[in-house]
Each structure stands twice: as structure tokens, then as C-alpha cells.
Amino acid sequence: MMSTVKFWIASFVVSIAFLVLTRWLITNEYYFFAGYQVLQFIVLATAWNILGGYTGYTNFGTGAFFAVGAYSAVVLHKLTSLPVPVMMLVGGIMSGIIGFGMGYLTLRLKGVFFAIATLALAIVAQTLIVNWDYVGGSRGIYVIRPQHAPISGSYIQYLYSLMLALTWVSVAVARTIERSTLGLGFNAIRDDELAAEAGGVPTLRLKLIATTLSGALMGMSGAPLPYYVTYLDPASSFNLSYAVNSVAMPMIGGMTSWIGPIVGAVLLGTIQQLATVTISSALNLLIVGVLLILFVVIAPNGVVGLMQSRWRARIR
């Protein structure tokens, strides 16, 4: 089994190689647009899985954390001329703080009550943004991309590179958690919270760590959005599709392993991109819904769970 440090190094090398290869081989700008979307979904699904998959707390408020990241960037864009990576950090901190606050207020709730509370958070956050004129309110806001990217290539290629870096960080963080004492504690909470507490696990503290980390990563993935779309409005930034996708992707890929959300995000993200260019983007949520139903029936533990159970059956 690869150690955590080796995994960080190996995944860094793979990410750099992937970046160089894609930047070298691909000339069509569209593929960077599409790639950015898929990578963004990997981050969102991985971040969701830290709370939803590892600790078993279903979060329907992905859109809120994502949009807080995006609107933090809008505010910074208007006030300063900070580089996008710094905006991503600030977006992450803002969403992390909201994640902590949400955790503190709602983590005594369980199951469906917690899920509804997270959905309510998204609605409250959207209402606040709709009524905040400084960031465009309900009519939205235009964000002019800088003409030149700080590194070679187009600005979209730059955003794609940043999202790839964030993907590396979030996957490495998720994998590190999974193999750590923290990850075992999360698993214990998911399997039985009462037994976890009786086993010495400080459940409330661990859940706060999960909500904060998960929220922070979601916020970081939302921060480059204003530069990616150049026009940001509450309807699109708080779109339900972010919540649905970030739940569906780990469920389809498998929620008990760091690799599950990647599999789910690549699968669903790619299918949605293909549907968008060949049929219509209106079909995207339908595709997610159909696949989700299929997987819940055929492989409730996702692709990774299916492969694990086959592997276990073979060695028995």
C-alpha cells in the first residue's frame, strides 16, 4: 500500500504530466472548457464525499459553498487585483467558515433533518446574494477576464491548470484522510455514531472538521467560476445541478473510497459534456437521474464497491 507522502508525490507527478500532455496535445480551446468542468466536478464530488461519504452526513448545500467561493472572488475582483489562486484561498476560507458554522448549528441533527438543513442553508445564502447589490444582486454581474494569463497559453488554459492543481490537492487530502486516524473516526461515525462515541471518538469535533474541510474545498472550486463564465448570477451559481451532481457522482463512483468520486465525476461529467454538445444541456439532469436510479438498483455501493465485492469474492 502506497504511503501518504508517496501518494502526494506520485499524484503531483501524474497531475503535472497530465497538464503538460493536455496543454501540448490539445489545441482546441473547447476541450479546456470541458476539462475544467469535469475537474471542477471531481473537486466538488471529492469535497462532498469527505462529509457525505466518509461520515455519512448528506449535504444538499453544495451550491451554497460553491457560490460563496464564487462571490468571494467577485468581491475581491471589485476591491483588489489579487491573482486567482489567492481568490481561491480566500473563497476556501470563507466557505470553510460557513461550513464550520453550519456544522456547529446543525450537526446535532441527523439523517434527513441534516440534509434538509443544508438545503435550507443554500436557500438562505441565495436569498442574501440576490439582495446584495454590490455583487450584482438578482441581475448578476459581468466579470472581465484579464487579457493575458499569468502563464503561457490562454486564460481558459490557465483556469484549467488551476482547477487541475486544486483537483490534485483535494484528491490527495481525501486520500490522506481516508488512511488516517481521522478517516477511521469518520467511518466509525458513518457506521454507528453511538458506538463511535463509546469507542472514544469525539464525534462532534470530527463532524466539524468534515464540514469545514468539505465546505472549504467546495468554495475553492467556486472561486475561479466568475472568470470562467464571465457573467455570474445567483440562478446559475446556486444551481441545483451542483448539489445533485456532487451527490450523484460519489454515489455512482462509490462513496467509501477517494477514487469513487473521481470515477463518478469523470463518468458523469464526460457524459454530460457529450450530451451538451451533441443533444442539449437540458438533458444533463435527466442523465444524472437515470444513472443514479440504475446504480442505486444495480450497484448501490457504486463502481468501486462493485469491483471490491467481486475482488473479495474471488479471493475467498
Binding site: L184, G185, D191, D192, L194, E197, A198, G199, G200, V201
Partner: protein
């Protein structure tokens, strides 16, 4: 003279208008094997839940090992050395048996002041615990592969993994055959010989009588007898509670 390891005074618990526990006074000596019995609904599990921190009591006080633990979260009580097993086994279903035991070792033993077991030491201790309860062959299996009696043993092993000074074994033998009850009793006797004080909550009277050095009887949330097992079960109030008028 050594003081009690657990001292419960005037403990009370209500659920709305229902009085689950009323003015419970119990003292447990270090190394003791205490049986806690009572008809269904008498408040045994509620008492264990209050003492282990799963529920908060409404009145009275609990002193464990010379320290007041009222209001303390369950995980901190476990870290102090107060462990419990559950009436219905609650294994961590997605984790193999080794990881089931690794959790209390990491979060309890390693969280104690001055204690830090390395990964290898933790692994060794998990294997030793599984060997103690006869589950070492299934160390890498998931709990779903265990039989009922094995599940009970895992439950006890996980409670013991936190290196407790006092263990509440809540109906650890419920639903088991006589030979399986004997297997669990052997495990409990061995744990007691290792210095762990055990409070056995049980309905199987044969097991309680052979195990306990003292018996506490609860009826309708009140303690009605406390003493040597043979004396306690001959108490007229206990006979009335179990056999009727």
C-alpha cells in the same frame, strides 16, 4: 481501604412524564463483578446509558474513579476508563475486525496522557484482543461475516480495546444458546481476572448468578435490592417483581 471505582448517588432520569430512574444509589468496588437485573422496562439500559454518557441524567451525581463525570460526553468517559458494550451489537459494519478494534485504541488509549502506541503496537494489540476472544482467524473479515456469538465477542473485544477500568456488559448474552452463553462467560471471567471491574446487565439468571459477586435489582426505575446474589433474589420484593403477588 480502596474507595469505590463508581459511585452513583440519587440518580434520576425522566422521559417527559415517565420516570425511568428514581433516586438510584449504587457503589461499585474496584475489581467487583456486579450483576444488574430487573424485568423488562425496569431501567437497566437507561441506567447504563446515563452512566456511560449516551444519555444525560436529570438529577443526582456520578463519580468515577474519584472524579465527577456528570455532563461529560461519552467519549471522554471512555477515555477515563469507563467502557460499555451494547445490548444490540453495534459493529462498524464497513470496517474489518482489526479496524473495529483499532478505533478505540487510537481514540482512547492514544488520547490518554503519556500514552502513544505506534501503528505496529496497535496492530499487535488488536490481534491479541481478537485472539483472546477467538476471532483472530477472521481479523480481515467484515462484521457481516460473523455469527451472533462472534458478534457479541467482537462487541466485548471492542469495549475492552479502550483499556477500561470498568466495563458495562449490556445483555452480552441475549439470544445465545447455553453453550454460547458459557463462551461469553469465559471471556467475562478472564477480563475480570485481568483487573477490569464488570457490571453485567443480563436476563439469563443462570449466567448472572454464576458470574456476579453482588446483585443490584431494579424495578420500575427504583433499586429494590442490593447484596449477595442468593440473598438478593430471595428478597420478597424481588420475588414479587418477577413472580407476581
Amino acid at each position: 481501604m480502596v474507595g469505590p471505582i463508581l459511585e452513583v448517588t440519587g440518580l434520576g432520569k425522566r422521559f417527559g412524564g415517565f420516570v425511568a430512574l428514581q433516586n438510584i444509589n449504587v457503589s461499585v468496588a474496584p475489581g467487583e463483578r456486579l450483576g444488574l437485573i430487573g424485568p423488562n422496562g425496569s431501567g437497566k439500559s437507561t441506567l447504563v446509558n446515563c452512566l456511560s454518557g449516551a444519555l444525560h441524567h436529570d438529577s443526582g451525581g456520578i463519580v468515577f474513579n474519584g472524579r465527577r463525570i456528570d455532563g461529560m460526553p461519552a467519549y471522554q468517559r471512555t477515555r477515563l476508563g469507563l467502557a460499555r458494550s451494547f445490548q444490540l451489537p453495534k459493529p462498524f459494519r464497513s470496517l474489518n475486525l482489526l479496524d473495529n478494534l483499532r478505533i478505540p485504541l487510537l481514540y482512547t488509549v492514544n488520547a490518554r496522557h503519556g500514552a502513544h502506541l505506534s501503528g505496529a503496537e496497535i496492530d499487535e494489540r488488536c490481534r491479541a484482543l481478537l485472539a483472546d476472544v477467538g476471532l483472530i482467524d477472521k481479523a480481515r473479515r467484515l462484521p457481516r461475516d460473523l455469527t451472533q456469538v462472534e458478534m457479541r465477542k467482537l462487541e466485548l473485544a471492542r469495549a475492552v480495546a479502550s483499556a477500561p477500568r470498568l466495563l458495562f456488559a449490556d445483555e452480552a448474552m441475549a439470544g445465545l444458546s447455553p453453550s454460547e452463553v458459557e463462551e461469553i462467560l469465559v471471556v467475562l471471567f478472564r477480563l475480570n481476572e485481568q483487573g477490569i471491574t464488570i457490571v453485567l446487565i443480563e436476563h439469563i439468571m443462570r449466567a448472572v448468578m454464576s458470574f456476579s459477586t453482588r446483585l443490584v435489582v431494579l424495578v420500575a426505575g427504583q433499586k429494590i435490592a442490593d447484596g449477595a446474589p442468593q440473598e438478593a433474589i430471595r428478597n420478597p420484593e424481588v420475588e414479587r417483581a418477577y413472580l407476581g403477588e
